[in-house]
């Protein structure tokens, strides 16, 4: 089931990590809601251009691809500054970019920790920090951080990933408190197992075991997450802030 919110029309929303997985589905659902969808890409301008074209065909009032790596802060800042100058204030932000590298804690190297923390947590905060002034000039600001149910319940072989996603929850609540007086909102979504390229790679036996642990007995679909993102970005959730909402079929109750 796809939902639509009329107030998302022409809203400028930046989605990080939109070239694949859940981020890609979020960008497309925003396009269907006629938003101006902005996303960043690290390499491959051709596929970024193809996504811009696809988003416009889906109904986006506009679509813009910005070329910056999440960990190249100078390039990120100059790219965002020039976008805001040309198009106006960004009023929706979906901090979705994230990576994982699953392994037992005893095998984790310091560089692995830096890699995951830099992208999942630090770059999210740097980007949000840089957009604060822009937010103060914008209307109906809503920030959505993509956490994970793993950040709440923990998981074997995901200590670092879980720590980064738990960090996002603390960040979400603090930022919500800080900007609440300006009617700006910040919420986190904690997906459980959602069908993406990432879960398709999991071995069949493990998939069965995972599904047994989910009360609803199946993986979620990307639209289960995108519908919530749309709701949190729209005025339909105007009194909800600092909240963490699980989309996990009951995995963590």
């Amino acid at each position: 089931m796809n939902v639509t919110y009329s107030d998302l029309e022409n809203k400028i929303v930046l989605v990080t990590g939109a070239t694949r997985g859940i981020g890609n589905a979020i960008a497309k659902s925003l396009a269907k809601n006629k938003a101006h969808v902005v996303f960043n890409y690290r390499s491959n301008p051709e596929s970024a251009e193809a996504l811009v074209k696809e988003l416009k065909e889906l109904g986006a009032s506009n679509a813009t691809a910005l070329s910056f790596d999440m960990t190249d802060y100078e390039s990120m800042k100059s790219s965002l500054d020039s976008f805001v100058k040309d198009h106006g204030s960004i009023s929706g932000l979906v901090n979705n970019a994230g990576v994982s590298k699953d392994q037992l804690m005893m095998r984790v190297k310091p560089d692995d920790i830096d890699f995951i923390m830099d992208i999942n947590l630090k770059s999210t905060m740097v980007l949000t920090n840089h957009l604060c002034r822009n937010f103060l000039k914008a209307k109906d600001v809503s920030v959505v951080n993509m956490s994970s149910v793993v950040g709440m319940m923990g998981n074997t072989s995901q200590s670092v990933y879980a720590a980064s996603k738990a960090g996002l929850i603390g960040f979400t609540k603090s930022f919500a408190k800080e900007l609440g007086s300006r009617k700006m909102r910040c919420n986190a979504i904690a997906p459980g197992f959602i069908e993406t390229e990432m879960t398709a790679d999991i071995a069949d036996k493990a998939q069965e075991d995972y599904k047994k642990a989910i009360p609803m007995g199946e993986y979620g679909k990307t639209e289960d997450v995108t519908n919530l993102v749309l709701f949190l970005l729209s005025g339909a959730s105007s009194y909800i802030t600092g909240e963490v909402i699980k989309v996990d079929g009951g995995l963590y109750i």
Binding site: R133, L136, L179, R182
Partner: protein
């Protein structure tokens, strides 16, 4: 309009405090009860109005109307 007069006008509009009650020595935090976020917004208004850029680390030193006025004068 003199720089100080213009600064007072901006502060008055933002805080809804009558301009006649805002003096050169009026302190943003102690006298006008502004918080840190209010200060950021205030400085953003100054930047727009005066067409200058006030560095983030400088805003901590700008505690009174006089501080802002003097700082803006050095920018011109």
């Amino acid at each position: 309009m003199e720089t100080q007069e213009k600064v007072i006008k901006i502060v008055s509009e933002a805080t809804k405090v009558d301009a006649s009650n805002i003096k050169a020595e009026t302190n943003f935090i102690d006298d006008l009860n502004l918080d840190s976020l209010d200060m950021v917004e205030m400085m953003m208004k100054m930047e727009e109005e005066f067409g200058v850029e006030i560095p983030e680390d400088k805003t901590e030193d700008l505690k009174t109307i006089n501080d802002v006025t003097n700082f803006l004068k050095t920018m011109n």
